[in-house]
């Protein structure tokens, strides 16, 4: 694989933006400044970015409750996202959605989703639309090892096969469905994607902590699906660095587990190591990206604090096209 320097730097910038966005959220939530429930994607950045770097705005994705990474990777405006989480009328959803419902149709992001497993059927519909348009576009459902146990996901996979829709089911196995281990909850011998295979589609497996592996795998997956060969599925082995939700005491973690994950399975660290050892990028230019990203996040938070707030009149706006 030969990614250009610019493409590598862009991928790193995206991963780093997701990490910085969420670590800042983690801090601000601790301070009590942010309302509602927040689920952090930290640890899984290589998957969202390794998938979405192949896509343009006409390709569509449907995300999950753990959706910040998918939104950023797909091109949602970071400041608009932060303002949304702050509940401002300048947020991407005018303060009506919050963390779990960020969407931006203009970049092909059809919504994070508060209901585990709800995204896959929606993604199949978007894939049917892409097929009808005949421009070789695809639709991707991101699901976790929790959503893989929902009947909706099974229905969606079968329907995608039956209708030969250009849908891709990306399963991010972070080993935890909320607070329950996948070894308990996934009945198919700890293997999610064999289910997709049983539904009749071609499947792949890869290490989701290695951006390069994700990116290369997705090139094959997309070539298959864009070629009109029907849906496909891929399972990425990945890690969740924080709790199910912010505030989760994570008593289910093993002793030293998180330290080990941060030391051995941090996709950003792995990316830096691989990129610098292969002399693709230099440490100082990666550090430069880090600084730029942190400045962007500072600005996003400052802007969010200063952004306009909704008024009671906004409650009844946008329920219907014409409110009556």
């Amino acid at each position: 694989m030969q990614l250009s320097r610019d493409a590598l730097l862009q991928a790193y910038r995206q991963m780093r933006t997701i990490r910085a966005f969420e670590e800042r959220l983690h801090d601000e939530i601790m301070k009590g400044e942010i309302a509602g429930f927040t689920h952090l994607y930290c640890g899984q950045e290589a998957v969202a970015v390794g998938v979405c770097e192949h896509l343009d705005h006409e390709d569509m994705i449907v995300s999950t409750h753990r959706g910040h990474g998918h939104c950023i990777a797909k091109g949602c405006d970071v400041v608009g996202m932060m303002k949304e989480i702050w509940g401002s009328t300048e947020g991407l959803c005018n303060g009506k959605g919050g963390s779990m419902h960020i969407a931006d149709k203009d970049v092909g992001m059809l919504g994070a989703n508060g209901i585990v497993g709800a995204g896959a059927p929606i993604a199949v519909g978007a894939a049917m639309s892409a097929k009808l348009d005949g421009k070789g576009k695809v639709s991707i459902a991101f699901s976790g090892d929790g959503a893989c146990n929902q009947g909706t996901t099974f229905e969606a996979m079968n329907m995608a096969v039956v209708t030969n829709a250009p849908a891709i089911f990306v399963f991010e196995n972070n080993k935890y469905s909320e607070h329950t281990g996948f070894e308990y909850a996934v009945g198919t011998n700890n293997d999610i994607v064999s289910r997709a295979e049983a539904f009749g589609m071609k499947v792949w497996r890869a290490d989701g902590c290695d951006f390069f592996e994700v990116y290369e795998t997705m090139r094959d997956v997309l070539e298959h699906v864009r070629g009109g060969n029907g849906p496909a599925a891929v399972e990425f082995d990945t890690e969740r660095f924080y709790g199910h939700f912010e505030g989760d005491p994570q008593r289910y973690r093993g002793e030293g587990e998180l330290d080990r994950l941060w030391a051995e399975r941090d996709c950003i660290k792995i990316f830096r190591q691989r990129a610098t050892e292969a002399s693709l990028l230099k440490s100082d230019e990666l550090d430069g990206v880090d600084e730029e990203v942190l400045a962007l996040i500072d600005k996003a938070v400052d802007d969010s604090r200063a952004a306009p707030r909704p008024t009671p009149e906004d409650v009844q706006r946008d329920v219907y096209i014409d409110y009556f």
Binding site: G95, S129, A156
Partner: protein, 336 residues
Amino acid sequence: MATMLYRDAVLQTLHAEMERDESVVVLGEDLVGGMGTAGGPEAIGGIWGTSVGLFDKFGKDRVIDTPISECAIVGAAGGLALAGKRPVAELMFADFIGVSLDQIWNQIGKFRYMFGGKSKCPAVIRMAYGAGFNAAAQHSQSVHQMLSGMPGLKVVMPSTPADVKGLFTQAIRDDDPVIFLEHKALYGVEGEVPDGEHLVPFGHARLSRAGEDVTIVATGMMVGMAEAAADSLAEEGIGCDVLDLRTTSPMDEEAILDSVEVTGRLVVVDEAPARCGLARDVSALVSELAFASLKAPPQAVTPPHTPIPFARELESAYLPSPDKIVAAVQKTLNWR
């Protein structure tokens, strides 16, 4: 004006709208029928006969025959709508919404609001509802009371072939998600249907009988019963307004209040039980906003709070009837 069946008004509207707008897509189980069988596509043509000929004319990418997967059908309709199409999904029996409820309630009904008004979801979810065929508790229900309580959805219940054409055309062209409820006992009812373009806007009740003594509010199959009651009362010199709501979300509150201000008496006929339903909702609306006009307490003619029974005698006892409506009207007239 052409005369046609309620069922054919559905079918002809689908043909017309799919011809008019290539973004209209239909999907559902057995919508084509016969896929993967020796008989081949169109061996069935939809179990209600409301999709005959679509597959041959518009092809498999616009007429999508799906497996029995109600949640994925509605979810796919949501995805199609977000992606810019105008899907019309069929759930066959309204009773099957239970399987797909998350996609109706949490997804398509909320996209626009959750996304801050920056998306629209022009999806129509069609389903056949209602009792009268002794189909028992899981194939006879009226589900509008539950769906009308869900903000973001529009709920439509045509009672005549003309309104099927006008309201279904509006539903397909509407930019919000619409639940389109077709009463299965009305599929075989014939009526005059306007030729050419015919749209009926949502939220406008139809006055099907006019009188000054009592207001009767009804929807779907109940409209015919209310008309029969009104006609027999008219022979005794009692005049009734019969208001066919047409849509229960939005609901034409103004028409109800205007009528009750004249009559002072209200009877609400509904095919769903009264509790947490349309009958009590309309009664509460009138009590709240037109209390001074009331000459008698509002009456609800509804089934009891039970599942729908099977045996003929039991289903008849369960359902409203013209006689029960007449009795309720007389109760409002004889109050005190």
